[in-house]
Every structure is written in C-alpha cells, then in structure tokens.
Amino acid sequence: MLTIATGNKAVAAAVKEVRPDVIAAYPITPQTEIVEQIAEYVTSGELDSRYIPVESEHSAMAACIGASITGARTFTATSSHGLLYMHEMVNWAAGARLPIVMANVNRAIGPGWNVWAEHTDAFQERDTGWLQVYVSTVQEAYDTTLMAFRIAEHEDVILPVMVNLDGFLLSHSMQSLDTLNAGDFVPPLHLPHAIDVLNPAGYGTLTGPDEHFRFRWEIEKSMRRSRKVIAETERDFAERFGRSYGVAEEYRYEDADVVVIAMGTLGKEAEVAVDLLRNEGVNAGSLRIRWLRPFPDFDLSGREVVVIDRDYSFGFGGVIAQSLMARQRVDLYSVIAGLGGQEVTYDDIAGFVRDRRPGTELWFGVNGDV
C-alpha cells in the first residue's frame, strides 16, 4: 500500500508486519516515534505483541534477551546515549546468539547534548558481534527492517541485527512508502538453543579459555556465512517485491574514475553530487556502504576514492576511510563531515571531489586549511 511516512514510522510499520512476540522499549530522541507508534499498534490491537515499557535501555536489551532465549521474536529501538547505556547487553545479545533486531537512530554522543545525526553511536558497538546495516531512505528503512528479521533468524546466522537510520535527516523525514504484505518472507523463528524445561541446560555458564575462544570463532563463522544469507535474502526480496539494494549501493559506479563512498543519507546525497560532477565532465560515481558488519569487499583498484565519514575515531581517523585502507591499497581522500548533524549538501560533496587531495584528511568546515 502506497503511503507517506517518516523513517521512524516506516520501521514501526515493518515491525508490525513481522509481528514480534515481545517488544521492550525505552524512549530517546530521535527514536521515540518508533516505540510510540508500536505502542499505538499494540494498544489498538493491530499488533499482538507483548510490549514491555522498561525503565532503561540496559533493561530494554536485557528484556529482549530474556524473551529471545525462550524462542520468541523480539525487537527494540534506541539511539545514541541509549545505545551506549545498553552496551553491556548489546554484547550479551550477540554472545548469547540471540537474533534480536534493533533499530538505532544514529545520533551524536554528548556532551554537549546534541540530538542530530552522527554514526559514532553505532560505531561504538561495531565489534560486538551484531550485524549492522545503514539505510538512506524511508522505503529502505522499511524494506531493510523486514530483511533484518529474516537474516538475524536464519539458521546460518543466529546473530542480532542493528538497522541504522540517520537521526532527523531520515527518522523525521517524510517520504513515500510502499508497505507490503510480507507473507512468508520472514518464516517462523526456530531458535535451536531455546530454553526447554524438558531438556534443562545452563546458559552462559562459567566458560574456560578454550571454550570461550571457540564460541568467539563460532560468531565469526556465522558473521562470514551471513554474507551469503544477506545476498539470498536480498535476491528473494527483489523477486517478491521488486526492490533491491545490495551490500553497498552503486551509483554510476561501473565506469567511474573517482568514487565517493559514504553511508546513510550522505550516501544518497552523494548520488546527486555524482550527477553534477558528470555534467561537469568529471567521471564520478558513488558507493553507499549499507552493511558495515559484515564489512563488504569490493575492488577499488584503479580508481580515486573520496570517503565521507560521519564519525571519527580519535587518534586514528575516519572509521570507514581507515577500514577501507586496511582492506586494500587505495590512496584515498578522507573527509570528516556531518558530525552532530552538520549540514552537508550535494554541492559540498561535489566540492570534496573537485578539491580532493588523496592521502590527506579534511574536517569539513573546521580545518579546511590543513
């Protein structure tokens, strides 16, 4: 059904479609609209889920963990400080192999208080064993949330998935949305290690070095297998519903000499910049990274690369830029832009490409002279 919705409402609508058994939620700007909308669905009877209005994000994830280990489908949503507050349980969810799906509305970390878009919040959970995907449109937020449940719950994965959308820029932007009858696209969840009182077991028992190490390797193996599951899920989604995105979305990429790489809404904005540059005779293209974990592999050899990070690892650099350089030999121009919701237009992005200085790092609007 074609409608108009914000990114937040699109996520809530997708959650309604897959009908989690238990949703535990705590409000935080700019995510609140998701849990409010879900509360509306539950109150009106449109969604037959147990809704637990917990007293903190730490408890939100703990409640999802408790529900999930019984074999229930679970969902929560958070942002920024909320995500950081639940950090311990974010690790626990992955270590316990629970296919929880969480929407994280990307927002800067204080102090000072800043409620606008930045990817640093989710990046602090980068190494926890969660799959992470970043979306750029309302439709993509909806479609990806549906796919997230299927990927998380797939027997070859059984890991939690975090769906990231940019605070306000996407969470509060109205765009057209085609909601779906997902049918059996997301099959019923069968958690292989669900609690069974007829077959009692200890969960998370004291574990020695050898077994601990082996369990970490199991997570890594599942993370590697998830690439195939993501591809299969995308393919089936495209066949059923006619839309596909890929692990990274390419735009005029094939013959591009210079490629702009970004995530989230900046990655979409970059497509307009590419059109501008092409009109000027610059052979530009863009690559919008969707899946941060597992990190995508692509070949950038023979191209110039401009990476825009809406994040920073102090004393290290832009996380995407540094990650790409760690994976392949590429002399890229690293741009740090959009922190704390800084406005970055397609003209600005075209400017980054025109003025690119490979091997250097630009803090847009801050250290332009360096």
């Binding site: 408890s59 009692p200 004291l206």
Partner: protein, 293 residues
C-alpha cells in the same frame, strides 16, 4: 510438617564452599518450584556454584545474565512465556549486591510493571563471589575487605524498598529454616504478579565462622531479632513463629556477633546501632501485623 519432595534439582557436583547457604536455599527453592521453572541468575556466587561449562549442577534451565540485568531479563522471559501460553515459573536468584546495589533499578522497574515472576535475594551481606567486599546490604560494624575497620553505614532496608512497590507477596526467610522457606516459595508461586523473598544466607568464609555452623548462625540471627521472619501477602503482614518467639524473649545479639570473625573488634556504638535498628524494625512490623500502620 510440610511434605518436601525428594526430587533433587541441585545435583551433587556444585563448586560451592563447604557449608554454603546459597546452595541450601536454592535446593529448597527448586523443590518448591518444581521442574517447570527457569532460573535467571545475575553475577553472584551461584554463577560459580552451578559448575563449569559444559557441566551444570542445576537441573532446571538456568539463564546467567549480566550483573544489573536479572529482573529485566526475567521480565522479557515472563512476557514471552505468557505470549506462548506457558505457565513456566520465572525465578530470579540473585545475591545482595546484584539486588540492593547494581540491580536495584531493574528490580524496581520489574516490580512497578507488576511482572509475573518471583525474585529471590539470597543475602550474605557482602560481595561474596569477589571475595567479600561491602555491599549496601552489609550491616554496620561488619568487616569486609573494603571495610577493614568495620562498615560505618547501616544495612540498606531492601524490604521497605520492595514493599513500596506493593508486590503481591513479600517475605523474608533464612537458610536455617528450610520448611518455612519451602512454604513461602510455594505460596509465592501460586500468586500472580511480582513476588519477592529475601533470604538470609550466613556465609562461613565471608562471615568467618566454621562451616558446620551455617544453620546455627541462621538460627542465632533470627533468635537475636536481627533477622525477622515475616511475610506480607498483598500488604497484609504476618510475623512467623520463630520471630514471634524472639520478640518475646530474644537471645542477646552479642551471642550472634561474637561467633563471627567479621564482627571482631566491633565497637559499642555499632552494636547499639544494630540493636536499635532491630528493635525499630520489630516494632514497625508488629504494628503492621496488627494493622496499625
């Protein structure tokens, strides 16, 4: 005498210390709860007592969870079981640190939401698992590894905090009175909503007494009036037999303190504070039991 089932859910392969009250308590909790039960255990002595992977000494599903998260985890579990139409008992089994200190926010939230579960705090009055550091539940005057001169602050009144949430059921119990504990767990599990049992767990290495004295130490705690056995069903308070007797004719609290190494060198002021707290608590509970307040 209450008929206590012979079935054992604590198997003979725990890694508990000799004379461990926590294991004793859990044994009777599970006898009362039966096999359709899941335990949620935050970091505490029971994290270790249950054994090392891939073995377990507990014959019901036991979910270990992070220190602050037990009550919240149980909330999710309870709701999920209800959604699935299951009547499985969800029981949090947590130490005092995980209850009165780091876990109190989750505890408060779960009780405010009237989560259908039973929360049992086994209270050995310190962080036993990490080697006896003070907790909010350590009594005044007790030496721990972080209060080498004796604790200067009073024991937190956990029961009053829980009572303020108006739970369906609230009771105290003690490792030395297994019949009483068994009955209280059984009763709690017949009621819907949030139930709470606070069990005193005299800890031989932590309190520094000989390991065959666990039961005796629990009895002294009750007979001296420092630990009062009572229960409150939907707010109606009943003081249980052993504590009624202790209120009429208590043994001197010095008899309880002098046999524990942790109270060695305790000063008069701290003893008086302990006495005064015990008396005030008894008076308050007597009034509640009589329906005066």
């Amino acid at each position: 005498m209450t008929e206590i089932p012979k079935e054992e859910f604590i198997l003979k392969c725990t890694s508990a210390c000799a004379g461990c009250p926590s294991t004793l308590i859990l044994r009777y909790v599970l006898k009362a709860a039966g096999s359709d039960t899941v335990l949620v255990v935050p970091a505490c002595c029971t994290s270790v007592i249950q054994g090392i992977y891939p073995n377990t000494a507990v014959n019901v599903p036991l979910y270990n969870v992070a220190f602050a998260a037990a009550a919240a985890c149980a909330s999710g579990m309870s709701e999920a079981f209800q959604k699935a139409g299951k009547k499985t008992n969800v029981i949090v089994y947590a130490g005092d640190g995980g209850t009165v200190d780091i876990g109190i926010q989750a505890l408060s939230g779960a009780f405010e939401r009237e989560t259908d579960f039973l929360y049992i705090c086994y209270d050995n009055e310190a962080y036993g698992n990490t080697g006896m550091q003070r907790s909010g539940s350590t009594p005044i005057g007790a030496r721990t590894t972080t209060t080498p001169g004796g604790k200067v602050h009073a024991k937190k009144d956990l029961d009053a905090i829980v009572a303020a949430h108006n739970p369906s059921y609230l009771a105290t119990a003690c490792a030395a009175y297994p019949q009483d504990l068994f009955k209280k767990v059984q009763k709690a599990l017949t009621l819907r909503g949030s139930k709470f049992i606070h069990v005193l767990a005299p800890c031989p290495p932590g309190w520094r007494f000989s390991s065959e004295m666990t039961v005796e130490m629990g009895k002294l705690a009750v007979r001296s009036g420092l630990w009062i056995l009572y229960e409150s069903e939907f707010g109606k308070v009943t003081i249980n037999g052993p504590s009624k007797a202790a209120m009429i004719k208590p043994v001197p609290i010095e008899d309880y303190l002098s046999v524990q190494g942790r109270f060695k060198g305790i000063d008069r002021k701290a003893i008086d504070a302990l006495k005064s707290q015990a008396e005030q608590r008894a008076k308050h509970l007597q009034k509640e039991a009589e329906g005066i307040c």
